[in-house]
């Protein structure tokens, strides 16, 4: 323990050098910007930086790249809140209550709580990283294909059951998402599925295209009529970017609960921020005393996923730092950059290169503080997006969407897909089919299917593998509880209401 603190202090000494401080701020702010722009996520931000990192030392390079990573988590929700378009997958859950808050004139509080929750989530996760990096990485290894499959099932069933009163439509949306996820070369057999001879489809459809299409373009199409008749009013007056005491009271526990959850999900290779934020959202909705407010602008529905996705971005560093395995798309790019600098991340990183590992961890504490300080005034600037008349704002959104999609793979085919998903998003909103289950299915569908088949191949076709470990059984229990809990809770509420009708 003393040793850890000493190492961490040593790390702070290096991370607090002016040059490194400057890089933390630069990485964080660049991350915030790429995070805000639809399509440009942390992975792109880090990739853009690779040529520059050639000229830096490994410590400086790592500090800057991780700054981009969690900076993007701060930024990602800005566009979710203001224009109902998540900057990347991890900011998807921020649209559920963030955008309704903005529509109700509470954009200031929404932006403030998202920065506050991000800061707290990131800081708690950094503490957990210091204390638990090795045990958590060993725990993550217990996840074999069977456990991954069950984890995906848990996440999907939570999201589908979330669309209460509309479960059938929720499942339709889910199934469409799963179908989209089967497009591409099947890794287990090497066979092409649903590619129709289009080369670009062989690697599957990037979920970012689906998100940008459904949200950004879908929103533009949907608002088309209101642009013409001017019913959508631009906000003129803006308040201070801060939250009320009541807001804090409602958000405090969701933020604190979501951070460890996000941290652990983030540490599982391949799970990531999107899943962490959606799971924490569902958690809070089920624990809440007024679940009916979720989706209508409940502040805790924004605070929880914001805390979780920042914590997940810190957790995702664990497999890379302790095992040399990339835990997410972004850390994969980071690892590539590290290799170019001649650093081989792995179990010996902390003993062979303490001069990189500890300053990096220290920089996360500093970076979170800097980002919280930068993001509050920045929000004051950004909130004025709401003052932009729709006929100016939406063309800009449209342009950014296409730029963002092109940045993913530089492919023209993706433009067609973008428009198709935009129309699909518009239609789904028209007939009230929820889009979140579909998006999550697109994100986890491929891993879920592959995990299932990997497990079956390992067990020679024996389904018992899905109940073959304590971890697997716990995941099954979580899934069952997550489906039954809302039903039981409703029944109990009804009973209560029957027994004491006068108090309702």
């Amino acid at each position: 323990m003393i040793e850890i603190l000493q190492n961490l202090m040593g790390g702070f000494v290096i991370a607090l050098q002016p040059y490194h401080l400057l890089l933390v701020a630069f990485g964080g702010i660049l991350g915030t910007i790429v995070g805000m722009l639809p399509g440009l996520g942390p992975a792109t931000g880090v990739a853009v930086l690779i040529p520059i990192t050639f000229t830096m030392g490994p410590t400086a390079a790592m500090i800057t790249m991780t700054g981009i990573y969690y900076g993007a988590m701060f930024g990602g929700s800005r566009s979710s809140i203001l224009i109902n378009t998540p900057g990347d997958g991890a900011a998807l859950a921020a649209t559920f209550d963030g955008y309704p808050m903005a529509m109700k004139g509470k954009a200031e509080a929404a932006l403030a709580i998202s920065a506050i929750a991000s800061f707290i989530g990131g800081t708690i996760a950094a503490v957990l990283l210091v204390l638990l990096a090795t045990p958590v990485s060993r725990f993550a290894l217990k996840f074999g294909p069977a456990e991954y499959f069950l984890l995906m099932v848990a996440a999907l069933s939570m999201t589908a059951s979330m669309s209460k009163g509309n479960q059938l439509k929720g499942f339709i949306s889910l199934i469409i998402g799963l179908m989209i996820a089967t497009i591409g070369i099947d890794a287990q057999s090497g066979i092409k599925r649903f590619t129709f001879g289009v080369l670009e489809l062989q690697t599957g459809i990037d979920f970012l295209i689906v998100i940008i299409g459904i949200y950004a373009l879908g929103e533009v199409f949907k608002s088309y009529s209101s642009i013409a008749d001017g019913t959508k009013k631009a906000q003129k007056e803006f308040g201070k970017i801060w939250i009320s005491k009541e807001d804090w009271k409602r958000s405090k526990w969701p933020i604190l609960r979501s951070a460890p959850l996000g941290f652990i999900i983030g540490a599982l290779p391949g799970a990531g921020g999107t899943m962490a934020s959606l799971m924490s959202y569902n958690n809070e909705k089920q624990l809440s005393k007024h679940p009916e407010e979720f989706g209508e602008g409940a502040i805790e529905g924004l605070a929880a996923p914001e805390s979780a996705n920042n914590a997940a971005s810190v957790g995702a560093l664990i497999p890379m730092l302790t095992l040399g395995i990339p835990g997410s798309g972004t850390t994969a790019v980071m690892m590539g950059a590290l290799l170019m600098l001649g650093i081989q991340p792995g179990p010996l990183l902390f003993t062979q290169h303490p001069d990189i590992a500890w300053p990096l961890i220290a920089s996360m504490f500093i970076g979170n503080i800097i980002l919280a300080i930068v993001n509050i005034p920045l929000a004051g600037l950004l909130v004025r997006v709401l003052a932009i008349p729709a006929k100016v704002l939406y063309p800009i959104v449209l342009g950014l969407s296409f730029v963002g999609v092109y940045a993913i793979a530089g492919s023209i085919v993706d433009f067609y897909l973008l428009v198709i998903f935009g129309l699909a998003g518009f239609l789904m909103k028209k007939v009230n089919v929820p889009t979140a289950p579909m998006i999550l299915a697109v994100i986890v569908g491929n891993t879920m299917e592959q995990s299932f088949r990997q497990a079956i191949r390992i067990s020679d076709g024996d389904l018992g593998i899905f109940a073959g470990s304590t971890l697997a059984l716990s995941l099954i229990a979580i899934t069952v509880i997550s489906i039954l809990f809302p039903i039981v809770k409703d029944k109990m509420m009804e009973k209560k209401a029957e027994n004491a009708p006068e108090t309702v």
Binding site: L37, F54, P345
Partner: protein, 337 residues
Amino acid sequence: MKKKLMLMLAFVLLAGMMFTGCGKEEAGSSASAEAAYPSGNLDFIVPGGAGGGWDLTMRTTAKVLADTGLVENAMPITNKSGAGGGVALSYLQTINGDDKTVVVYSPPLLLINLNGSTEFSYKDTTPLARLIADYGAFVVTQDSEYKSINDVMEALKADPKSVKIGGNSSAGSMDHIQFLMMAKAAGVANLDKIDYISFQDGGATAQILGGHVDLLSTGLGDVEALVASGDLRVLAHTADHRVGEGVLAEIPTCIEEGINGTFVNWRGIFGPPGMPEYAVKYWSETLGKMVETPEWDEACTKNGWDKLYLNSDDFASFLDEVNGEYEGVLKDIGMID
């Protein structure tokens, strides 16, 4: 209004950053181009994403070429990923005869054609030089029951389902094929019955560490850190000689273990089809000079690469030879007719 302007400025700056390195000069090849070759910007293409093996090779090559002064032109690098390199291969077909574009490739260039992912093959490129090699490594956990590669092969001969092989490439691609080539050399029958489990995004390493698969088929360079830490053990690798230093140098080759097979994960530089003769000569020679520099030596040591230069002509015959080998294995497992 001022604030809005600032916001827009930020977007423009960002867009500018994204597109630096993406600009491509029109290929203007005339008779005079030959004398002054190369002039203007060159176009270095990576057929996969940033941070991957191809990316690392291409960026290192560009850096060494610039640092040693062998090439003075700007060498912006573009990532054209998709379809396991197939998208970049299709792109090359659209710039037939161009003299300024080069791209990096490795065995998947042949495999994506053999397994039917793309109609184009290595014959639709111009091989310029083979640069480096990594080798296949067969990895188990420290406490595995398999102590040598022959233990694994014996177990497979007795029951092809008894050892579950994990890897990071999809079925029929590199990690799968390199293991089957060794199994074939070891005399294992029923190659198509062997279970190969494909994991995405580098997840296979976590799966072997967690004991979910029995053997990991991967690149020798990819597991160095975990071998050094004692978490994993490499039973054998597929080079024809001992490779590297330290823990890596202690690993036996398959040949030493009595399995007469090799697999080279080569990486080389290619041009588009119909690249003019002067450009082919230039690149074959320039890259030949590059691999003799101390800067290149240093880069190879740092990345754990084996230097394995071949000039343009020899590289082309090498490709013909290995293409036949890969094809044989894919036929054995029934992935192609």
